[in-house]
């Protein structure tokens, strides 16, 4: 009990001082001399898209996005690795679950709508808010919804087709990167005339992969082996 109190006091001291320091710092922040938003809006016409956030994500700072997809892939790979060890996976077959008619109808109405929304978000991303990440996560959300309501949707496991779907975004992104490098340009420096099309291709592939990976992180979470206690 004493140790717990000590821990609370120490944690309290650390976080209160951090909070106070942040509070103070926010109040006395100097005004920046560099203005990136101005640079962004100057460069937008050459970026291939008109929505600034998309331009930053997939053109100006596309390398960040490439590494970010690698982070997502890391999580997916670990999930696959730890899933595979389980020989006694206790997936409840969809038919065995109790289904509620209302839920069913709701899901059947909702899921196609979500897929439509995802497609719209992907398409609109070049001009307005939206893009691969939002679209991919909406797709994943639709799949999670289906799985939660007991529908037998195909698991994202170690079959080749799943692994292709997971890595599709990375493969396309890398192909574009290698293409630009082989053409003697800087890495991921799209030719201006092609940049709109290339970004759309990359984003479409990313949408699929992000959707599949995010769903796989949900679907591949380890289960308790039934009736097996150690």
């Amino acid at each position: 009990m004493k140790q717990r109190l000590g821990r609370q006091l120490a944690a309290g001291a650390v976080s209160v001082s951090l909070g106070a320091a942040l509070w103070h710092a926010i109040g006395v922040r100097p005004t920046p001399l560099v203005s990136l938003p101005a640079l962004v809006s100057d460069a937008i016409p050459a970026s291939g898209v008109s929505h600034p956030v998309t331009a930053v994500l997939l053109n100006f700072r596309s390398y960040d996005t490439l590494l970010e997809i690698a982070v997502l892939m890391t999580a997916a790979v670990v999930a696959l690795a730890l899933r595979e060890e389980q020989t006694t996976r206790t997936d409840t077959p969809a038919s065995a679950r109790v289904r509620y008619v209302v839920l069913d109808t709701l899901v059947w109405r909702l899921v196609p709508l979500l897929v439509l929304v995802a497609g719209y978000l992907l398409w609109i991303g070049s001009k307005r808010p939206g893009g691969a990440f939002q679209a991919g996560s909406v797709l994943a959300g639709a799949a999670v919804l289906l799985r939660l309501s007991g529908f037998a949707i195909t698991p994202v496991d170690h079959r080749l087709v799943s692994r292709i779907a997971m890595t599709l975004g990375m493969v396309i992104f890398l192909c574009v990167a290698i293409g630009t490098a082989l053409a003697g340009r800087e890495l991921l420096d799209y030719p201006v005339a092609w940049s709109g099309a290339l970004i759309l291709v990359i984003e479409s592939a990313l949408t699929i992969s992000i959707g599949v990976v995010l769903f796989s992180l949900f679907d591949n979470a380890p289960q308790q082996p039934r009736g097996l206690s150690r």
């Binding site: 717990r4 808010p129 939002q134 959300g141 995010l214 992180l217 949900f218 979470a221 380890p222 308790q224």
Partner: protein, 95 residues
């Protein structure tokens, strides 16, 4: 002025739901409050003129993270209801 009042209220609500999510005795309740927190964050992003973030926060921050956490609670509760369901007593495991 009305805008700023709304922002202040939203900020207070963010802090309140975060407190609930972090310190409620029942972990399930905590996760539900975290989802609410995520939705309020999405509103905050709208107020900060960041609609991309509002969309992403609602879908990922609140939706998928919430689903992952809720599923995990179900998993962790299966054997160990006392620990997962209530405020963990740190000495409980090491009797």
């Amino acid at each position: 002025m009305i805008g700023l009042t709304f922002d202040a209220l939203l900020g207070a609500a963010l802090i309140a739901t975060a407190t609930g999510a972090l310190f409620s005795r029942d972990l399930f309740r905590g996760v539900v409050l975290f989802v609410v927190f995520g939705l309020l964050m999405a509103l905050a992003w709208v107020r900060l003129q960041a609609p991309d973030l509002a969309l992403a926060e609602a879908a990922i921050g609140a939706g998928l993270t919430g689903a992952l956490l809720l599923d995990a609670i179900g998993h962790l509760k299966r054997r160990d209801a006392a620990d997962a369901g209530h405020e963990n007593s740190p000495s409980g495991g090491a009797s």
